[in-house]
Symmetry: C2
Subunit: 121 residues, 2 copies
Amino acid sequence: MDRLSSTFAALADPTRRAILAKLSLGGASVTELAKPFAISMPAVTKHLKVLEGAGLISRSREAQFRPCKLEAAPMKEVSRWIEQYRWCWEESFDRLDAYLAEVQTAEKPGKKKKKKARKRH
Amino acid sequence: MDRLSSTFAALADPTRRAILAKLSLGGASVTELAKPFAISMPAVTKHLKVLEGAGLISRSREAQFRPCKLEAAPMKEVSRWIEQYRWCWEESFDRLDAYLAEVQTAEKPGKKKKKKARKRH
DNA sequence: ACTTTATTTCACCAATTGGTTATTTAATGA
DNA sequence: TCATTAAATAACCAATTGGTGAAATAAAGT
C-alpha cells in the first residue's frame, strides 16, 4: 500500500488517534497507552503495529518496556494532500469575501470591482 | 462511526482519492468517473457510496445520469485535526533554526542568545 | 533458579472491505 | 412499445480488520 493510504488508514480508527494524542504529550509504554481503553493488550499491540507500519510511531527498548514515540512526519504528507482542497471548503468564505467586497464597493462608489474567480466547479 | 473516522477511512483508498481529484475539476457522472479505472461499475458505485457516507460527495439526478459533486467540508475537520500535530513534524526545522541561530550568534559575539522552547516532548 | 512484569505471538472469530457477475430499475429515444 | 443507456442492487467471494484468550518471550528482581 502507498504511504498516503496507509497513513489515512491508520488515522481512521479513534483508538489509534487517541494513542497518537497521548504520545504527542510524550513517549509512553504499551501498558501506559493501553490504560484508557477497555481492550486487551494484544489489541493495543496490533494498533501499535498499524501505527508503526504507517511510520506514525517508532519504538525502542528500555528494560522490559517498549516505549513508543510519535513520528508525525507522515502527517506532513497528509497535510500537503488535504491543503490541495482547501479552496473547495473555503468557497463559502470566498462568497462572503465577494459579498463584503461588494458592500465596500457600494460604500465607496469610486472604486473598481475586483474579480476573484477562484471557483472552478 | 464518527465523522473524522469515516472521512479518514474514505480517504484511505487511492481509487477514491483519484475520484475526488477528478471531481475537484468539476462534477461528473458515474461512467465518467469509472473510465480511468480497471474495475467494474458496481465497484465504482460502492466507492461513491463510501464517499457519500463520509459527506465528501453529494449526488443529484439529471436524466438517466447521477452526477457527483465534490463536498470538501469534511476535509476541513481533517485539516483542523492534523494541524494540531504540525509542530511535531516541524520540530526538525526548529532544530535547524536553533542551529542557524547558534551560527549567527557565534559570528556576531555581541548578540544575545534567543531561546525558542517550542519542543514539548 | 524462580517469579514477576511487560509485551508479543498464536490461533481463532465475526464483521467489514473491495472486488466480481448477473439481474433489476430508471429515464431516454426510436 | 421496445431497445438503449446509466446506474444500482443482489448474491457471492477472498482478504483484511479489530477483537479475543492462551501461550511464549524477554528483561529484572529476589
